[in-house]
């Protein structure tokens, strides 16, 4: 250190000396430069001045010479040729030297100046007069005047010309330029010069310095400091600085010969520096500079030699510093806290991590943080003891303490400390602190996991065991103990294989071991023998632990007792085999279908036979490919889950065969899908049988039709009255149930009047025999009616007895019946209701149900009990009375969808409401139709007579009405001409059609018109022979039908002998089609009075006006 100080001191001294010497040297140089500069400038100025004065002297001399010549030769007044020649010669000589440009002779007395020009440019523009005029007349000698003209610079020397008496005669002006002088001076003189006139105008000068043209940059010359240009600034009485910063010394020298003119010499700095190299007088400076240089060199040598001496120390110190720096750097990089404490425990160093970890700041450190404050109080004593041990030189290693943060929070940490020594003495403690919070947490987690694993191990329902490759048991869990029957102590350490796998099953062991060599084994089944001798099947998953060489050191097995599952599996296999056997043998098809996709999943052999394929080839096929599209019944996809049902389906195994099957189905989920299981029973034979049965039924019905015949629409009661009868029946069952007849028994000779019997019956049941029983019943009834001695009551009693006696009527068979007997003459009607709903009597707007309860005419059903005396009721009919007979299918229709039946009172109300819709009496046919439609609509059923019937039973209504023939409209046609006849027919047809529309008959207008026209034309043409004076009577009546009568007064004709106009022989006849058309277009046609009176009937179509029918669902009470 001291040496360093000495060396540094010497070096400083040397450097200082060098600097001082340098400064002195620099100052000396500057001073010399300044001196040299001024000297140079003065030299330049004087040199230029001398030359200018010499140049001017020539002007002067020339002027004087010329003035003398003039004076001598009196050139001005009488210049003679010789004098002029001499003057010219002199001037020429001067001019040839190039310095004069012109010479003027000026004679003031003359009015004009006399110019004697030289060889060069003339004096144009030269203000001679003004300048010369300024010369006093008495002036003598030569003086210089400054003059300039646009052609260049000129200096004029003026010499006066005087005579012998020294009288002023004129002047000789000699002008010339300084151009040549300027060039010569510029070339010869180092430095710059300027010739400045009295008005500070630069007359001449060195054109350039440092490359710039002096003259062009100089504008003015200041009278004082002589800044010669705006860019030349005087910084001292003898110095200038130009715009570029160049320094110049200058010296002014007045031109003696030319008053007012001054020469300025300029020397720039650069020239001075060069000159200083030649002109140098700095001995002292040289000595000082040399001394400084020497000292400097000595200092350098000392420093250099001394540097080596301290180099090692520095190196050491540097290394030390580097090491410390690296230590600090490393300390900052470490994630652990690095600390240093002094002997008092005060923290003297911590890295940045310490601040983060403990929350202290640098201020805390500066304030004297104690290291033991970083430890929780509970561990502080122990930490202190360990510190003392460290001070004693002991190594304490890693110690776990609870570290304490500034905010009071704690965390587990490991402390490692070591002693710091200074010159062999303990100086403090250095160490690091590791936060082991995460490690602690991990340890806790591992501990918890281990505990949980132990619990799982103990409580697992699977066997968990470990064995060595040689089969020695290493561990087993409780489940294993339970299953094997051995305790862990009995198994651990002993051979697993020999204990649990007797010799005969040892092959399983060998197979397992071989498999484990390559990979872990899953689901390997082995059967062990328990302690109790039971065979227990275990499904093992085994894994192996291997050492570093890959050798198996332990096998760990996880086993599931599947003994029960195995037994169940065997049972299931047996059940499946059993089921398959059943499926294969039952004479019914069983097909399992995917409910969504519709493809066949499984099918038994019989089912496959129905489909016409082998079972295997049907699996996966679409079930619908084998079923008739229009007779598929309910599609499997449409069957709701859980639904059970059945239907008849038609299979078509190929295009030639169809098979009728009765199908029952069930849909239910199996796994993740739903299936439909269908059983199919071949009913093709049954269908054929039923078809045959249908044929039998049709035959039976035909027989019944033969027995009963058709109900006559009109039965004449007397000449004025007829009984209208119409049955509206809608069958529900092909086998029948409802049957009826209308029979007219004519008056006899024994005074018995004619009567008409109407009977409506309803057989119980709907099986095939029902039709036969219907036939039998009506045959018996007809037979009984033939006996005219029997009253109605007797007839019904006998019918009951006969039915009860018949074997063809089973005990449970019976029938209900409503029978009416109308006397033609008296219109007395007897009635007997046998277990049958009462009929309706509609008179005007009054509706009655007959019979009332407990009235005569109400009886038991027929066939229930024999020997019962039936009763008959009696009522007097009137013209216009309407009767409605019906079966219970009508009143019980609401039972299925509405859960009620229509009682008599309600039926009466409904019938009354039907009546109210029309002002005129509604025909019974329309009443029956409206009532049927109303009830069907109420029940949401479709019941169409002779058509569709969706209700649960046959529905039959018979409408009867006592109609009067003579209640007709009438019009007499009197044709005056063919035209009037045609017009009357047309008008009448329109009238009748309008009335018909009001009555509800509104279609087939054309047909009616044609019939009317044909009938009238026939009466006119054939009856009256086209006579125009004979009237034709037309009558018409709207009742249940439209009745038309046309009456002529002709001779009549044989209406039984009419030809057939469609006969090929008569096809082309132009007449004879009228009656044919009338027969075709009317429902009934007959003649009276030998053909003079024709009756034509148009049956009312069963299509009432819409206003008559209540909308569906409307209240039947209106």
């Amino acid at each position: 250190m001291r040496i360093r100080l000495v060396i540094y001191g010497l070096a400083f001294l040397a450097i200082t000396s060098a600097l001082v010497g340098g400064l002195l040297y620099h100052h000396d140089i500057n001073r010399n430069i300044a001196v040299n500069g001024r000297l140079q400038a003065a030299l330049v100025a004087r040199s230029v001045q001398a030359q200018i004065e010499s140049h001017l002297e020539k002007y002067q001399t020339t002027a004087l010479l010329l003035s003398h010549q003039h004076a001598v030769g009196r050139v001005l007044q009488r210049p003679n040729r010789v004098t002029r020649q001499v003057v010219q010669h002199m001037l020429s000589g001067v001019i040839r030297q190039g310095e004069l440009q012109t010479v003027l002779l000026y004679q003031p007395q003359a009015s004009a100046s006399l110019v004697h020009a030289g060889a060069s440019a003339g004096a144009s523009g030269f203000n001679w007069r003004g300048d010369v005029a300024a010369i006093p007349d008495d002036a003598s000698g030569v003086r210089f005047i400054d003059a300039a003209d646009p052609a260049g610079r000129r200096v004029a020397a003026v010499a006066t010309v005087n005579d012998h008496q020294d009288n002023y005669l004129g002047a000789i002006l000699v002008a010339g330029s300084f151009d040549r002088l300027e060039r010569r001076l510029t070339a010869s003189i180092t430095g710059h010069w300027l010739l400045v006139d009295a008005k500070s105008r630069v007359v001449a000068g060195a054109p350039t310095w440092r490359g710039g043209r002096l003259g062009s940059e100089i504008r003015t010359v200041g009278p004082e400091a002589l800044p010669v240009a705006p860019d030349l600034n005087a910084v001292a009485p003898d110095q200038l600085i130009d715009a570029a910063g160049n320094r110049y010394w200058f010296h002014r020298q007045d031109v003696t010969a030319w008053p007012g003119f001054t020469v300025v010499g300029l020397v720039d700095e650069y020239q001075c520096y060069r000159a200083c190299g030649m002109v140098f007088n700095g001995t002292r400076s040289l000595v000082i500079a040399g001394l400084c240089l020497g000292i400097l060199v000595a200092a350098v040598l000392i420093v250099r030699f001394a540097h080596r001496a301290v180099a090692d120390e520095k190196l050491v110190r540097d290394e030390l510093a580097k090491s410390e720096g690296r230590f600090r750097e490393l300390a900052e990089m470490l994630p652990e806290t690095i600390f240093e404490l002094d002997r008092n425990g005060t923290v003297i160093f911590v890295n940045q991590q310490a601040y983060k970890q403990f929350g202290y700041t640098k201020e805390d450190l500066q304030n004297g943080l104690n290291g033991f404050d970083l430890i929780d109080a509970a561990d502080r004593e122990r930490a202190l003891q360990n510190s003392l041990r460290i001070y004693k030189g002991e190594k304490t290693g890693l110690n776990e303490y609870t570290a304490l943060r500034k905010d009071g929070s704690r965390f587990p940490a490991l402390f490692h400390s070591s002693l710091i020594t200074d010159q062999g003495q303990p100086a403090g403690i250095r160490g690091f602190i590791i936060d082991i919070t995460a490690r602690k947490q991990m340890e806790d987690a591992l501990r918890a996991e281990r505990d949980q694993t132990r619990r799982i191990f103990k409580s697992s329902p699977s066997v968990i065991c470990g064995i060595t490759p040689d089969g020695t048991t290493t561990f087993i869990n409780q489940t294993g103990e339970r299953i094997t029957g051995y305790t862990a102590e009995e198994l651990v350490g002993r051979s697993w294989w020999q204990t649990l796998y007797p010799d005969q099953e040892h092959h399983q062991v060998e197979t397992l071991l071989a498999a484990l060599e390559s990979e872990d084994v899953k689901a390997y089944e082995m059967t062990l023998t328990s302690r109790a001798g039971q065979k227990i099947t275990i499904a093992w998953n085994s894994i192996v632990n291997r050492d570093d060489t890959g050798r198996i050191i332990e096998i760990i097995g996880f086993g599931q007792d599947i003994t029960k599952a195995k037994h169940a599996e065997a049972k299931l296999r047996n059940s499946e085999a059993y089921l398959r056997m059943i499926m294969a043998t039952i004479p019914a098809g069983v097909v399992v279908i995917d409910a969504k996709a519709g493809n066949i999943i499984d099918i038994n052999p019989f089912g496959a036979k129905l489909f016409g394929y082998r079972p295997a080839s049907l699996i996966g096929k679409d079930y619908h490919d084998f079923v008739c599209v229009d007779r598929i019944g309910l599609c499997p996809r449409e069957i709701p889950c859980g639904d059970r049902g059945g239907s008849d389906v038609v299979l078509h195994p190929d295009s030639d065969h169809t098979i009728h099957v009765r199908r029952t189905h069930t849909r239910f989920p199996v796994g993740d899908r739903e299936v439909v299981v269908q059983s199919l029973i071949d009913i093709t034979d049954i269908k054929q049988l039923m078809r045959k049965q249908s044929i039998s039924i049709d035959l039976s019905k035909s027989l019944l039709g033969l027995v009963n015949g058709r109900i006559a629409r009109y039965t004449p009661l007397n000449p004025k009255l007829a009984l209208f009868a119409q049955a509206q029946a809608a069958r529900c069952y092909a086998e029948g149930g409802d049957h009826y007849f209308l029979r007219t028994i004519a008056a006899d000779d024994e005074g018995r009047t004619g009567r008409t019997i109407v009977s409506l019956k309803d057989q119980s049941g709907h099986e095939v025999g029902c039709v036969l029983r219907s036939i039998i019943t009506d045959l018996i009834h007809h037979e009984l009616l033939d006996d005219r001695t029997l009253t109605m009551a007797q007839t019904m009693s006998c019918l009951n007895d006969r039915i009860c006696e018949l074997d063809s009527f089973a005990t449970a068979d019976f029938l209900t019946a409503i029978t009416l007997e109308i006397d033609h003459a008296s219109l007395t009607m007897h009635y007997a209701a046998c277990g049958h709903p009462p009929f309706l009597l509609i008179r005007g707007r009054e509706v009655r149900l007959i019979p009332d309860t407990d009235q005569a005419g109400g009886n038991l059903a027929i066939g229930m009990i024999g020997g019962v005396a039936f009763t008959a009721g009696r009522i007097q009919l009137q013209v216009g009375d309407r009767l409605v007979l019906y079966t219970d299918g009508l009143t019980e229709m609401p039972q299925r969808n509405r859960s009620f039946v229509i009682n008599g009172e309600r039926l009466g109300r409904m019938t009354h409401n039907v009546l109210d819709t029309q002002p005129v009496p509604k025909p019974v046919a329309i009443i029956c139709q409206d009532l049927l439609q109303k009830i069907a609509a109420l029940c949401d059923e479709t019941v169409i007579p002779d058509g569709k019937n969706t209700s649960a039973d046959d529905v039959t209504l018979i409408g009867l009405e006592v109609e009067a023939y003579n209640r007709c409209e009438q019009q007499v046609i009197r044709p005056h001409s063919v035209e009037s006849l045609a017009g009357q027919i047309k008008t009448l047809a329109a009238r009748i059609s309008t009335e018909g529309a009001r009555s509800g008959i509104d279609d087939a207008w054309q047909n009616f018109r044609l019939v009317l026209e044909e009938s009238i034309l026939n009466a006119w043409k054939h009856g009256h022979g086209e006579a125009l004076d004979k009237p034709i009577t037309v009558r018409w009546r709207f009742g249940n039908d439209l009745h038309l009568q046309v009456i002529d007064s002709g001779p009549g004709f044989d209406f039984n002998r009419l030809g057939n106009p469609t006969d090929p022989q008569g096809m082309t006849r132009s007449s004879g089609r009228g009656i044919y058309l009338m027969r075709h277009l009317t429902d009934q046609l007959w003649w009276e009075d030998h053909g003079r009176h024709i009756h034509l009937v148009f049956h009312r179509p069963l299509k009432p006006a819409a206003a008559d029918i209540a909308p569906a669902g409307a209240s039947d009470d209106g």
Binding site: V978, A982, I985, K986, R1009, T1062, T1068, R1073, G1074
Partner: protein, 102 residues
């Protein structure tokens, strides 16, 4: 009943409008008798405007048919409405001459 006759070459087209009742049938016959059937091979009745035809009208058609058939010609009825068409079929006139419906 009105009739419009259009004779072109050997074909006569007769358009009828109105009812062919007794009166109309007479007018039809009168009009038909005025036709020159010497070179006629075909008679077509357009029944598009006919609403009604009676037996008299049917009879007249047969007369016309016989008249043209005797000359080797043929008769046709076109555009008959349903009622008329059905009526003509009832009397089997469709077996004698061509009848087409509208």
């Amino acid at each position: 009943m009105e009739m419009t006759v259009d004779q072109q070459g050997d074909s006569i087209r007769i358009e009828l409008r109105g009812d062919i009742d007794e009166l109309g049938a007479n007018k039809l016959k009168t009009g038909f008798n005025e036709l020159d059937l010497s070179n006629c091979k075909q008679i077509v009745f357009d029944f598009g405007g006919v609403n009604y035809i009676g037996s008299a009208g049917i009879g007249k058609m047969l007369i016309f048919y016989k008249a043209i058939a005797s000359k080797g010609g043929r008769l046709a009825i076109e555009n008959a409405n349903k009622a008329v068409y059905d009526l003509l079929k009832v009397v089997k006139l469709d077996t004698i001459f061509t009848i087409t419906s509208a």
